[in-house]
């Protein structure tokens, strides 16, 4: 496995920023980290980037311990923080050249790599521009290029699309998709959840320093949304249909919309139970013409999770 986080805990006095976080990621996985502000995403990323020491626990990048071998870990990771500054008196190519040298690349290697990276992030035409004069989106892309200069196995991207306009966000997303195709393991946190859902293989949801869910996007949605909300439309016999559904032990919170000839209810049964329910309804001559599940996207899930945190 490429990333292995074991019992990671970070405390600031009595405040627990991270509470026994465990997570494993295989090579080439794109992992999306979801959580409200202050949930512990940036703290986790800072520890993985060797910027912060954990109170207890450890994390391993390709088998190298963040606590005991930070220098080795730095060779393996490319880190892009949520907020970052640039050296305003440096040009784009000089900026990359400085970081290339900082990773111990030779001048010849840097000479070859820098044009390639600028091309990857669509900044070739800005090569000799001062970094300070670039737009926010361009700076973000340049910072991404910077994090790739030593060809890291793992990319840690903290809110890479924050503050970007829609066009810049799409450009950033396309670059990340390209990096995914290159086989990089990517850890990314973002509030642009639909985009995250689209590009991530796995999602982790963190709340109050605890990882409350981890898996692929569909599994997370199923795990977090609880009871399904099912909507049934019938031709007629609305009351008969209502009486039928009320008898089912998996059904609760039935609502009837007379005008639409529609019944909705929470259903906590499994998929097989749902098949049986439909079969029984048809045998009972209830004229059902559609049965749908109300879909919740990642944003709904996120809102549901963070609601509690905001209220607290």
């Amino acid at each position: 496995m490429m990333v292995d986080i074991k019992g990671l805990t970070k405390k600031y006095g009595s405040f627990v920023a991270l509470n026994n976080l465990n997570l494993t990621l295989d090579e080439g996985v794109v992992f999306g980290f979801v959580g409200a502000n202050g949930a512990g995403k940036s703290t986790t990323f800072s520890i993985l980037a060797t910027l912060l020491s954990p109170t207890s626990g450890d994390a391993f990048i390709n088998g190298k311990s963040v606590v005991r071998e930070p220098k080795e870990v730095r060779k393996l990771i490319g880190y892009m923080p949520d907020f970052f500054g640039v050296y305003d008196q440096l040009k784009a190519d000089e900026y990359l050249d400085f970081y290339g040298a900082s990773y111990g690349l030779s001048a010849d290697e840097r000479k070859v790599l820098i044009p390639q990276l600028l091309e990857l992030v669509n900044l070739t035409h800005k090569r000799y521009e001062y970094v300070d004069l670039l737009s926010r989106g361009m700076k973000q892309r340049l910072c991404l290029a910077r994090s790739l200069i030593h060809d890291p196995k793992v990319l840690i991207l903290d809110e890479p699309a924050s503050g970007l306009d829609p066009r810049a966000r799409i450009e950033m997303r396309d670059i990340l998709k390209h990096l995914k195709s290159m086989g990089k393991t990517i850890l990314i946190s973002s509030h642009i959840l639909p985009e995250l859902a689209e590009m991530c293989d796995e999602i982790g949801v963190i709340d109050n320093g605890k990882l409350i869910a981890h898996g692929n996007v569909a599994a997370i949605q199923e795990q977090l949304q609880g009871d399904k909300r099912v909507i049934v439309k019938v031709m007629d016999q609305l009351e008969k249909a209502r009486a039928f559904f009320e008898e089912d032990p998996y059904i609760s919170s039935i609502e009837v919309a007379d005008g639409k000839k529609e019944i909705s209810f929470n259903y906590r049964g499994k998929t097989e139970d749902q098949v049986n329910l439909l079969r029984k309804a048809l045998l009972a001559d209830i004229p059902i013409y559609t049965l749908t599940e109300e879909e919740k996207d990642l944003e709904d899930v996120f809102m549901a999770i963070t609601k509690g945190a905001d209220e607290a």
Binding site: T50, V67, Q89, L90, S102, C143
Partner: protein, 283 residues
């Protein structure tokens, strides 16, 4: 081979420093102060003597005052150049990215220090043509001249290290700046004050007894004061006077050198240790 010894932070800092307008304006201000002083000195001395010539003794006086002035400028400018070295990176949010590179903490700190020291040395070198005027009129030996420049170098590296240390351990540049200027005032002013108190107490006790004076604490305050060392370099007879007051014959430059080298080493050690998060093995 060169790649092994190159320091990316040093090269970047030099590039940024010499592209910034404030570096040139700072250098210009420094040279303007020296020019005004030298021109004024020459004018006043030739006017007062009424003979329009400059005696070797006058030349030495100009050298002495110029040396003190330059030391003052070095002590004034070094904290300004070094006390923001790390904290400015932190404030500009460039430090975290720098710390995730494979550069060691030592490389980063030394790079920061050397870039500031290089700029200060450039200032001293830029002032050399004005300084060398004293050789036109005689009265100053090259060895005195070299010793004074070595004193500048040791002092500015030490104050620079203090600045880098405070810049690393404090979060804000303004706090680091105040702490560094405070340390500089202690070394340049408070030590002199303690020395004079020590001398006064020694003289008071001498009045009551005939024993040979022995005051290592007073000697120590004199030894770590840049002004005191400069005076003993410029006027060697002052070293004898000091010896007669404190009763210690060891030249003060020895203690000065040891103290400032240890101070530099301590400050750099603290800065290197505190730069990154305290992992188990972080060097």
């Amino acid at each position: 081979m060169m790649e092994r010894f190159s320091n990316p932070v040093l090269l970047k800092e030099l590039k940024l420093r010499f592209r910034a307008f404030k570096s040139f304006s700072g250098l210009m201000f420094y040279l303007a102060v020296l020019c005004i002083f030298v021109a004024g000195f020459l004018l006043i001395y030739t006017q007062f003597s009424g003979t329009s010539f400059f005696r070797p003794n006058d030349s030495f006086t100009m050298f002495a005052v110029l040396s003190v002035l330059q030391m003052g400028l070095v002590m004034f400018m070094t904290p300004g150049l070094t006390a923001g070295a790390i904290s400015t990176e932190r404030e500009k949010q460039t430090l975290n990215i720098l710390l995730t590179t494979t550069q060691s903490s030592t490389q980063i700190i030394i790079g920061k220090l050397l870039s500031s020291v290089a700029f200060l040395i450039l200032m001293l070198v830029a002032g050399l043509p004005l300084y060398s005027l004293v050789f036109l009129f005689g009265g100053v030996s090259p060895s005195q001249f070299i010793t004074i420049f070595l004193l500048y170098l040791v002092t500015l590296v030490a104050i620079g290290s203090i600045g880098i240390m405070f810049s690393t351990i404090t979060k804000k540049t303004i706090v680091s700046m105040i702490a560094t200027y405070g340390a500089m005032i202690f070394l340049g002013g408070i030590t002199a004050f303690f020395f004079f108190i020590g001398v006064s107490m020694e003289q008071m006790s001498m009045g009551m007894s005939t024993a040979t004076p022995f005051s290592p604490i007073t000697y120590f305050w004199a030894s770590i004061n840049p002004g005191a060392l400069m005076v003993t370099i410029l006027y060697p007879e002052m070293a004898n006077s000091l010896e007669s007051v404190v009763g210690i014959s060891l030249p003060i430059w020895v203690v000065y050198l040891i103290f400032y080298i240890l101070l530099t080493a301590f400050c750099l050690f603290v800065a290197i240790r505190k730069l990154r998060a305290n992992m188990k093995t972080n060097r």
